[in-house]
């Protein structure tokens, strides 16, 4: 069953579907409301759960009084740690595909409170409104204990984590004596950066609808970036066989990483459904969306020393991030700096500090969106210290060998990103002097930054069924969180088999389908796309074999290599007149359907010899009000090298959306924590600001040509994260260019700009 990819499997010449800016195949369902999300499924016996959240950040529950809630007619049950059923005991059972090292949070497990907004009870009632009202009648008494939620207060106690999470690499060992080189370098910068905790806040709030079937099995509609992850979690925690639990998530209303791990509403809904033996839905409120994972707050230091000509003598990048008391959430923050720039000496350091918060969680470009901001702002500072163009400085330190590992990049068209981006942006017209460019009452600033992200791949399986009517159904248990998975997988399948796109259907978001990894890290096209290609290759082989052995030899002396799959037909390259529709080949060969499954594995050996990644150059123009210091981003050009682009439209949307998010990260996003209460206070979208339309000027996306023969058979790297990396840095650098003041603490709000002496 395993299709070991080897080099001949590579997609050398796409057959026409790949690279086309196809509209989303699920677009119509979405805009007409026909696509149903987790909280939109229902059942005749559906009950509604509402979660009671902790008011304190740390301590113990001394008493829970549920009597007033239970006294209301229509309230079915109140679940707390006092009446919950027996649940799994070992930590192992509570882990999921994305768990870091530690002891996962167990909802309603005992009286301990480890973070504000922790779920402490679930009220289940006949209606949502009643459940919500009753939840307010649940009286919880606490014995509060002193808590700490401020990273700045504890960053000195930080520790160096080991390989505490899949995909995490601790920083490489130092090269040379970077600290000494810093003292000796001719030109230096040494700066501290801070980034706040940011919450994913997808438009769709987390929800789970658990349908309790007649036979006692569960069909669960969950908001998750991988249905199998939820299925395994539910089976482990509630000790259920896989056959009794099916998880569906065909549509996900945004997630950005917040759906990588099963969240507590899933636990709650399953708990209630299995206890009450009826269908239950639990949906989080917007404030409760601040009760779990988030991009961790970070404090960073970047120190750079350079020779007069701009070559880096030393590169020091240190970062401290928050994690919870119970898990070691880690992300790669500092390694990017060492990978992106070649310095004579390098020291990279990454630490964690424990706070009384929920465990952070991957959020679009986890780690890179933090660390690259710091190095890219520092590089800009160094460029000014050297009186050098910021692009020239980066090119001076460009490397095609990864200094962290000594291995070559499989491909790295970063220089082309700079060249094409600069051309489109008009960089050559930039006057480098701060405050030199004005328009009316605005100070105009132009800034640049580079971006980098991984090109990972995981194992994935896919199934394909080609019917006699020429319809192809391909399936894999992956997710489409708005990224365009349905569309690009359909394109890959159609491409391999030379079918019109309309004849292809791709299914995903169902734990009953062939296994796929959780959708995250920009590896879905690479992982699942390769499996789709592999399975379609197998179907094609079957068809080729059938065609070549048909009675009457309609393809003459042609061999399999001579056959072209195009327009629903097989055609000989030798004699184009030798051509038969796929369906006719099947009929004549007596094949009613062709069904294949395949699993794809990464090119492990080739990958191990290279560093793989996507790269980008981001150019930003800001307008800073010369009287008030308020900032607007009027223009962004993002030039991206990400291998082969399967669909420039959906890929372009990824980069566009990420640039918008980058604007929010630069100017607006911040969880404001009251450290005395240990609680995020701006927990709604009126006060937790993300960009609105007029915050966004024009955004230009360029995909730079890049050929990569190592990454996977498709040569495609994935574009989910790269678009956000470095955007905030480019904007920060543009603010400096406009105003002459450096703000090193995100977000760059007016208070900080004025405090720094601007505008």
């Amino acid at each position: 069953m395993i299709a070991f990819p080897s080099f001949p499997d590579r997609l050398e010449t796409p057959g026409g579907q790949i690279g086309r800016p196809v509209n989303r195949v699920d677009g119509r369902l979405k805009v007409t409301g026909a696509a149903r999300y987790a909280a939109e499924h229902t059942a005749p016996d559906l009950a509604h759960g509402y979660i009671v959240s902790s008011a304190i950040a740390k301590g113990r529950i001394t008493r829970i009084d549920t009597s007033a809630a239970l006294a209301l007619p229509g309230v079915l049950a109140v679940f707390t740690h006092e009446n919950r059923p027996d649940l799994a005991w070992f930590d192992r059972k509570w882990k999921d595909e994305d768990s870091p090292k530690g002891s996962p949070f167990r909802p309603l497990y005992d009286a301990t409170i480890s973070h504000s907004f922790q779920p402490v009870a679930l009220v289940v009632a006949e209606s949502f409104e009643l459940a919500r009202y009753a939840a307010r009648l649940v009286k919880v008494d606490y014995a509060a204990e002193p808590h700490q939620t401020d990273l700045a207060a504890v960053h000195r106690d930080a520790f160096a984590p080991s390989k505490d999470k899949g995909g995490f690499q601790p920083p490489p060992r130092p090269r040379g004596d970077a600290d000494r080189a810093l003292v000796e370098a001719e030109v230096t910068v040494d700066c501290h950066y801070s980034q706040p905790a940011e919450y994913h806040n997808p438009m769709e709030m987390h929800a789970s609808t658990v349908l309790y079937n007649d036979d006692g099995t569960l069909t669960i509609h969950d908001k998750i970036q991988g249905a199998s992850n939820s299925q395994t979690y539910v089976c482990n925690v509630f000790n259920l066989p896989k056959s009794a639990v099916r998880v569906c998530s065909p549509f996900v209303g945004g997630a950005f990483g917040s759906g990588l791990r099963p969240q507590h509403q899933l636990f709650m809904a399953v708990l209630a459904a299995t206890q009450l033996k009826r269908s239950v839905r639990v949906e989080l409120s917007r404030p409760q969306m601040f009760s779990f994972g988030h991009r961790p707050r970070s404090l960073q230091r970047v120190a750079l020393g350079a020779h007069r000509d701009g070559r880096l003598r030393t590169l020091i990048h240190e970062a401290v991030q928050e994690t919870s008391q119970f898990e070691n959430y880690v992300e790669i923050v500092v390694n990017w700096s060492g990978q992106q720039y070649k310095a004579d000496t390098t020291r990279l350091d990454y630490r964690l500090a424990r706070l009384d918060v929920y465990t952070p969680l991957d959020q679009r470009a986890p780690g890179a969106a933090t660390g690259v901001n710091a190095i890219e702002m520092a590089m800009d500072e160094l460029a000014y210290a050297l009186e050098m163009d910021p692009i020239a400085l980066r090119l001076k330190n460009h490397t095609d060998i990864d200094p962290n590992t000594g291995r070559p990049f499989s491909s790295k068209e970063l220089r082309a990103c700079f060249a094409q981006g600069a051309e489109r942006f008009g960089w050559s017209r930039r006057n480098p002097v701060p405050r030199s460019m004005r328009q009316g009452r605005d100070l105009v600033g132009w800034g640049v930054a580079a971006g980098v992200w991984d090109a990972m791949q995981g194992q994935a399986e896919a199934r394909a069924v080609l019917g006699l009517d020429g319809s192809l159904m391909v399936a894999s248990a992956t997710a489409d969180i708005g990224t365009g998975t349905y569309t690009v997988m359909s394109q890959i399948a159609a491409d391999v088999l030379g079918l019109p796109l309309e004849q292809v259907r791709f299914r995903l978001g169902d734990s009953a389908l062939p296994t796929a990894p959780i959708e995250g890290g920009s590896w879905t096209v690479s992982s699942v796309g390769s499996a789709v290609k592999a399975v379609c290759d197998k179907v094609r082989d079957r068809l080729a074999r059938a065609a070549l052995t048909l009675e009457g030899r309609p393809f003459g002396t042609a061999t399999a290599d001579d056959l072209l799959f195009t327009d629903g037909c097989i055609q000989s390259r030798i004699d184009p007149a030798q051509r038969l529709p796929l369906t006719e080949v099947m009929r004549e060969a007596g094949l009613f359907a062709i069904e294949e499954t395949a699993r794809s594995l990464p090119y492990l050996l080739q990958r191990a010899r290279h560093t793989l990644g996507t790269h980008s150059a981001i150019f930003a123009e800001v307008r800073v009000d010369a009287d008030l210091g308020t900032v607007r981003v009027s223009r962004i050009v993002s030039a991206v090298a990400a291998g082969r682009i399967i669909n420039p439209k959906t890929a372009g949307s990824q980069i566009l959306g990420a640039a918008v998010w980058g604007i929010g990260m630069a100017l607006e996003e911040e969880a404001l924590t009251d450290h005395r209460l240990g609680r995020v206070m701006n927990h709604d979208l009126a006060e937790y600001h993300v960009p609105v339309n007029p915050d966004v000027g024009t955004i230009d996306v360029i995909f730079v040509d890049e050929e990569d023969r190592v990454v996977n058979p498709l040569g495609a790297k994935g574009v989910g994260e790269i678009g956000i990396v470095g955007v905030a840095a480019a904007i920060g650098n543009a603010i400096f260019h406009a105003t002459g003041v450096r703000v090193r603490e995100l977000p760059f709000t007016v208070d900080k700009i004025l405090a720094a002496g601007g505008p």
Partner: protein, 338 residues
């Protein structure tokens, strides 16, 4: 759910009866009976469990949705005219562009389509703690304390606050109304009264749960704009954390009457800085009889911000307010009639 009675009133008298029938109850946050207009603030607060009325009287059918010529050459804005209809009304745009600009600087098109003029005046603060029932707040639960004083107070007051409350009134519309010396018409069981705008909203003092001087059984029927609309020299300037759909960090409504290079009348009201739109006659007096110059503008800002104090995160508002005042005055003075 928490049940409440709901009735629709067809006349003002009926609305007042509806209130009276449910007993007056206490004023302020604890009021048990409330009028509902657009519901854009009231319903949110009910869902957040901040307000728990036992009865709602729907006033939308009342004949208060008209904009009419008012007494003395002014304009009368019905309490139930939506914020959007007010902002786009030809008369308002021509004669009171300050009002139009202020409304359009607030909320979003959807909200402005629902929000009523009366409801806008009586909207509650956006203080984080007021909205979060797990935290102390004197405005929500008198006597529980003010968590914002030493907590997250980036959006809080720098003027007129008390040790019991540092919340600000969030409206943009009201800042323009304060600058224009609007008059609010109300009717209660004891009859009608006209309230000068400056007296409508209160400072928090030690009763921060009471925002305004209106009694629970009083209904706003209209807002009267006086004749002088400052249609030539005006500005509404709003500094905020994003370009739209964000409350003011600091805003300023300015109206100037300038004759032959000399300021004859001046109005400056600040929003986002206090429990009510902030004006200071002494500051405005500095402008009168003088040419509009940068020095005078700076002096106006100094007087307006006399006694301003920050609580940590909001310290920057003092400097920002100074800049907003100077810029708004300059813009108003330089404005070319369109």
């Amino acid at each position: 759910m928490r049940s409440f009675s709901y009735s629709r009133a067809d006349s003002v008298d009926q609305a007042l009866l509806g209130i009276a029938a449910n007993g007056h109850g206490p004023a302020g946050t604890a009021a048990a009976v409330r009028f509902i207009a657009g519901g854009t603030n009231l319903l949110d607060l009910m869902k957040a469990d901040v307000l728990r009325p036992s009865a709602l009287v729907d006033i939308n059918p009342l004949p208060l949705a008209r904009i009419e010529d008012g007494p003395d050459g002014g304009l009368r804005l019905g309490a139930l005219v939506t914020n959007a209809d007010t902002a786009y009304d030809d008369r308002v745009q021509a004669r009171y562009p300050l009002v139009s600009r202020a409304i359009l600087a607030g909320a979003s098109p959807q909200l402005r389509n629902m929000a009523s003029n009366g409801g806008n005046l009586l909207q509650r603060t956006r203080c984080y703690y007021f909205y979060d029932t797990a935290t102390p707040c004197n405005k929500r639960t008198p006597g529980s304390g003010c968590a914002a004083l030493t907590g997250v107070n980036r959006i809080h007051a720098i003027l007129g606050a008390s040790e019991h409350c540092i919340a600000v009134h969030p409206s943009d519309f009201c800042v323009a109304l304060a600058a224009l010396d609007a008059v609010v018409q109300v009717r209660g069981s004891d009859g009608e009264r006209s309230i000068p705008f400056a007296d409508v909203h209160r400072l928090p003092g030690d009763t921060p749960h009471i925002d305004t001087c209106l009694n629970a059984d009083e209904i706003i029927t209209a807002i009267d704009l006086p004749r002088q609309g400052f249609a030539r020299h005006f500005t509404y300037l709003k500094a905020r954390d994003r370009t739209s759909y964000a409350f003011a960090l600091v805003s300023a409504a300015v109206g100037l009457e300038i004759e032959a290079g000399t300021v004859r009348t001046a109005r400056v009201a600040l929003g986002g800085v206090a429990h009510k739109p902030w004006r200071d006659p002494a500051a405005e007096a500095l402008l009168v009889g003088k040419p509009p110059t940068a020095e005078t503008f700076a002096a106006v800002a100094d007087v307006l911000l006399q006694g301003a104090r920050g609580y940590g995160h909001n310290d920057f508002k003092i400097e920002l307010a100074r800049r907003v005042v100077v810029r708004a005055l300059r813009d108003a003075a330089e404005r070319e009639p369109s």
